[in-house]
């Protein structure tokens, strides 16, 4: 599997996004993914980034990024403003993950959610054997300095999607830069979901 800027989840997202669409990346960092999508998929790229230093670098790249709180920013965009709203390894850092997911499916026809899987066997064994907050290559932080404030697994996301009646159009599970198919909740380090609001009436217009 390819990588974009050394990240296989970026490569997956890059494959999921159709050319010529409108894309919003929530927590876009330096805007690498957006710049890549604009270059290679000719998308109309927008981003939101909390860190001024990172947002500055993204704007310097020519990507239109709003520097500010993404949870507050979501309310501003009109319904169906984007074809894709991307949350790449950001969901677990938000204060109100359900609010963010709902918001992204309101303003986007589809959401692409990538998150580190807390159900991975290394996380489980780390916790089981050490008796301490798990520390792995995927979750390298101490409990007191981790940006992650909500922990979820592949099964947790599936359960929420079912409960909210979101339609999961694609699910991709990654271990390193390989795709895994069997036992994803144990073996996936990162999960990428392509979701839409399903039957609920959130959609307007097609790709431009």
């Amino acid at each position: 599997m390819r990588e974009i800027y050394g990240r296989s989840d970026y490569a997956m997202i890059g494959e999921l996004v159709e050319p010529g669409t409108r894309v919003l990346d929530l927590g876009c960092g330096e805007g690498e993914l957006l710049a890549w999508l604009r270059e290679n998929k000719k998308v109309e790229a927008r981003g939101v980034e909390f860190s001024a230093a990172l947002a500055q670098k993204a704007i310097a790249r020519g990507v239109s990024v709003y520097q500010g709180d993404l949870e507050a920013a979501l309310d501003d965009y009109p319904e169906g403003a984007f074809d894709y709203v991307i949350l790449s390894q950001t969901l677990q850092e938000t204060r109100d993950p359900l609010g963010v997911l709902r918001g992204m499916l309101r303003i986007g026809r589809r959401g692409i959610v990538a998150f580190p899987n807390f159900g991975h066997w290394r996380v489980r064994t780390s916790h089981l054997w050490s008796g301490r907050a798990p520390k792995t290559t995927l979750f390298p932080y101490e409990w007191y300095d981790s940006p992650n404030i909500h922990f979820l697994t592949v099964l947790d996301f599936e359960a929420l999607a079912g409960k909210m009646r979101w339609e999961v159009e694609r699910r991709i599970f990654l271990s390193g830069n390989r795709e895994v198919r069997a036992l994803p909740n144990l073996r996936a380090e990162v999960a990428v979901f392509l979701v839409s609001a399903g039957a609920s009436p959130v959609s307007s217009g097609g790709p431009r």
Binding site: A52, Q56, A60, G62, S64, Y66, Q67, Y77, P78
Partner: protein, 351 residues
Amino acid sequence: MITEAATVFFDAIELDCGVALAPVEVAYETYGTLNADKSNAILALHAFSGDAHAAGEGGWWANMIGPGLAFDTDRYFVICSNVLGGCKGTTGPASIDPKTGCPWAMGFPSISIADMVRLQKMLIDRLGIARLLAVTGGSMGGMQALEWAVTHPESVAAAIPIATTARHSAQQIAFNEVGRQAIMADPDWNEGNYYGGRGPARGLAVARMIGHITYMSDESMRRKFGRRLHAPDQFEVESYLQYRGSKFVDRFDANSYIYITRAMDSFDLTEHGSLVSLFEGAKTRFLVISFTSDWLYPSYQSQEIVSALRRRNCDVAYCNLTSHYGHDAFLVEVNEQTELIRGFLKSTQHA
């Protein structure tokens, strides 16, 4: 850098107040070279006390406009004109009223930010430029940039309003009013009829001193002056403000102070509806910049503009840059602004 300074004349300009001001002249400078298809022009808009001399030696944005700088004159053709109501070559209260042969003084018609932009549009038309690559400016210059984007969206590919607002708050109006009252309280103001005489030097200096306090921040003043003494009985900050005040008197007309600050105070993009409705269908790209320590034009005022643009799904980039310089930051924080503006302009040009 190829630099030209010139003045153009127009028969008249229709003002918002209903008066046709005639005649009217505009002082402007240009930097760089206009390309063959006239697609690389950038209009730089000066702040309250600025003038057409934006770049080169002594220019108010000399650190931002020039070869290799944020507004790179090797790539772009930058235009800057003195605003209507000013005192640096463009018609203002100190100009001669042809009917009386005397300076207009307080008989000058009241002007608005929209009037300033109207005159700039006349200049741009005269230069044969149909569409500007960008309009940009800080503070009152940012107000003009916003006015341009709202009034002439088809003529502006990108707008870069910096440290500005869609309308003055009570606090901003209050500081301007104290400045105006300081001038009017000076007996030498003489209802504005001081041309050829002494003029309200003390009042104008006090107004400028207040202005300078609002342009700085608590922290920048602490770093710059602290409690250091300039003389046994004078703090450094006192001496600095007095110096700034007295220098200002030499270069600025008191009646222009009154007219231009009133134009700023009456500026309100929301007066004919919400900010959101203004930006309907806007195709102009925006880069909005504010500064964390700017308490004269606080970040929330920029964020209000950005929020309205996002509600219209407009193409907008925004950054609240960290700085301790207060409102002065837009003139001082060069490196970070340069990085943002350079990337933004490049992507606008290639769009």
